[in-house]
Amino acid sequence: MSDNDATTSAEVELRWCFLQGLSGDAAQYRLFLGRLSSHLRAYLRRRLPKAPADVEDVLQEALLAIHNARHTYQDDQSLTAWVYAITRYKLMDFFRAHARREALHEPLWEDDNLFGTVDLEPAEARRDLGELLVTLPERHRLPIELVKLQGLSVAEAASRSGLSESAVKVGIHRGLKALATRIRGLT
């Protein structure tokens, strides 16, 4: 199988997992994020040859951004193009924040091979998202901790925290957006 075929079949498989995830299948969504992260890691390692220590941070930021923007994906759209646009946006943000102007001159238009390479070895992230999570206001932090970290259902989390079910859902949604904002404030 050539590189091109591998890229195409990765696009098809990832897209399927992603669409299942969008309709509420958590297992497929996890599979999607897991496989996606190995592709993005390989891509970011190529793009950040001078800053290998930052790869995992940018990767986490991109994953969070992809999650927060998942409602903007259109069914008829190439998943590669969508993922690439978001990752590139976050990468440019990183370059801007770190004033690595010279890196901007490297050609970035290589999205066709985004899903063609894999890197399964995560490095340590420098920034700890767990610590950032703790700094969120309680109405955001509590729903995320109860539902996302302790694995309670939305209904259980609602009765445990005294919030309404819709407040729990909104809290998670807004909390993950707030987390992305916090990350930007740091870099």
């Binding site: 995830g21 903007t72 646009a85 995560p122 700890d128 539902v147 996302k148 992305a180």
Partner: protein, 213 residues
């Protein structure tokens, strides 16, 4: 937190994503923008008293159609710029076509008019205030459009801000059509467009700051 833990966090207890939300958000923004600009116009300027008569004139609908079509083009471009990885492509033409048609109509009217009548056709009676009023009326729709785009994931912030601003300007121009006494294409193809371009430029300036995510 390790990347694997982040993935677990993002993937646990996933709820289905309702992808009708983006179109709804824009529909709400346009509705709020259009009604607030219309209310502002009606309260501070007043609907033109002879509206009942002018609605039978084709040129009234031509002018309104110009503002609506330009708004439609701006909406198309704004929607595309709100989604990552979608190119605007032919969307730019959708903005250009109404403008070009208006300019051609203006050119025909000017060419057919006496030399002495040309400048009055171009300036009308209200050229000093027209663009400013459209720009001011566009403030509430401008806020509404930015709110809609902020709920999306724009990656070209300057362009997205400019497109959202143009959409707000066109919305405000639609509302202003109900007040404005000027009917001549040479007038509105210039001053209306100028008024719409003000929020568009403001949007381009504010975009990178306001639309960041």
């Amino acid at each position: 937190m390790k990347t694997d833990d982040l993935i677990s966090l993002l993937a646990s207890q996933t709820t289905p994503v309702d992808r009708r939300v983006p179109p709804w958000r824009f529909a709400v923004a346009i509705l709020i923008g259009l009604s607030s600009a219309t209310v502002l116009m009606a309260v501070f300027l007043g609907i033109r008293p002879d509206l009942g008569e002018v609605v039978s004139m084709p040129v009234f609908w031509f002018r309104l159609g110009f503002a609506v079509a330009l708004g439609g083009g701006a909406l198309l471009v704004t929607l595309r710029l709100s989604r990552p990885g979608v190119s605007v492509g032919a969307g730019w033409t959708a903005i250009l076509i109404p403008a070009v048609i208006a300019w051609i109509a203006a050119g025909i009217v000017l060419a057919g008019a006496d030399v002495d009548a040309r400048v009055p056709l171009l300036l009308g009676h209200t050229w000093k205030v027209c663009s400013i009023i459209i720009a001011v009326l566009s403030i509430p729709p401008f806020a509404a459009m930015l709110w809609a785009v902020r709920g999306m994931a724009p990656v070209r912030l300057r362009l997205a801000g400019a497109a959202a601003g143009l959409l707000a300007g066109a919305t405000s121009a639609v509302a202003y059509c109900l007040h404005c006494p000027e009917m001549a294409p040479p007038f509105w193809s210039v001053w209306y467009l100028l008024g719409m371009l003000v929020p568009s430029v403001v949007g381009a300036l504010l975009g990178p700051r306001v639309l960041r995510w």
